[in-house]
Subunit: 264 residues, 2 copies
Amino acid sequence: MYGHSYTHTRTEHPDAASFERHCHTEYELLFVLHGHGDFIVEGTHYPLRDGTVLFTRPSEYHYVHPESDTPYERYVVNFDRSFVLNAAEGLSVLTPQDDAVRGIYSSAESVISLLRQTFAFLDRLGKSAPADLRETLLQTVVTQAVTALFLQGPDRESASGNETVSALIDYINRHLTEDLSLDRLAGLHFIGKYQLCRLFRAHTGMSILHYINTKRMALAAEWLRNGIPAEEVALRIGFRDYSAFYRRFVSIQGKSPAAFGKNQ
Amino acid sequence: MYGHSYTHTRTEHPDAASFERHCHTEYELLFVLHGHGDFIVEGTHYPLRDGTVLFTRPSEYHYVHPESDTPYERYVVNFDRSFVLNAAEGLSVLTPQDDAVRGIYSSAESVISLLRQTFAFLDRLGKSAPADLRETLLQTVVTQAVTALFLQGPDRESASGNETVSALIDYINRHLTEDLSLDRLAGLHFIGKYQLCRLFRAHTGMSILHYINTKRMALAAEWLRNGIPAEEVALRIGFRDYSAFYRRFVSIQGKSPAAFGKNQ
């Protein structure tokens, strides 16, 4: 009835390289039962531990970097805003501000024990339970998690990152439709292009160009969902050549622009 | 938006006589944080302990008998069927069968720890939270509790009672609109009227007549809610004199029949 997915996965020997780096139009709730490593949201690093709760909002670029020597077991729920029930749908945690921290991280015991109980309960329902009952219970879990994170607030002390990279990401996020050439970005931050690229890759694990392309296509996907015609989206995002936009979009999103349209 | 109430109460020196014996058209979920005593549903006794979960369906006559030497702290939620979310609304635990045990009792650790976490979460929200957010969270708690009780099933081993009284209550519940004179009831169970009355009072804490009157007026309230005119309800329930029905109804329900009508 609402867009959502839910997985409970255990990986005995996680290979960091095999974990997808992505940016999507859904919310994501990650609850770590067991693991060791890092979680990176747009250049901000959070420690990944037993009980870690991480929540990302639409279009926040994120990925996990688990250590290979520790099994990694987690629940992941992806959902649309409408999957959150009634009053909780209006909570500010669902709408990131421009200057807000990236992702919401929590290691508060009250949040962890709530999620542990409610996910364990969902597990007990098992695959044999009617799909609509599992969905109803998943909605209650997601609603409680969102409310708990709102009450608790983000745990900013656990976040770490590089100030220049953070400022750069902020700038890119706010100017996605403008000129984001390396010359321009390096000029803004008063460091050399080469140094800037190396610094960015060291803290985010990817090139600046890849980050910009991914964020631009995420914004394009959002506009398409809101019913804006593909040709206009291409122009807004800075592509005068529609077929170049189309190829870039498909290579990053894995689907054609039409698949994101209003009636899909 | 839906009919419900929710209380978290602690009584330092509970006086069993001050706890209401009642029978209502709502579901009731009782979660005992701390206490010692008994919970009685239509003559069936359950032990009341820290962590006890008790669930009664509409028209199940019930009351609590706490020991005065132990503080009694509990959550009580009363709610209509429509307060339970989506798919969970169809669970069989919400529809008692004629031959089912009375009330649903659970002392399963999995149910208790789920309720402890989710009620604690509701407490943390506090009175300062918006009313509609508290209501949304209460809905998630009730839905999870109903589902957990369905999964766990009733704990029949903790129930105790007298077989004759149970059979008598069964008979009364199934024949509320028929002749339930003491002569007839005693005849059915092949014991003397005096012995029957004494046995009933010993196991339920009330007279047979009081029990019958209460159950009849609960059935009347249900019919009124379903839109049946008060005069017809009176006749169905065995009252040829409407004013006698009216007085009896008000004395037991505390409100006039009109207050239970379809449009109230």
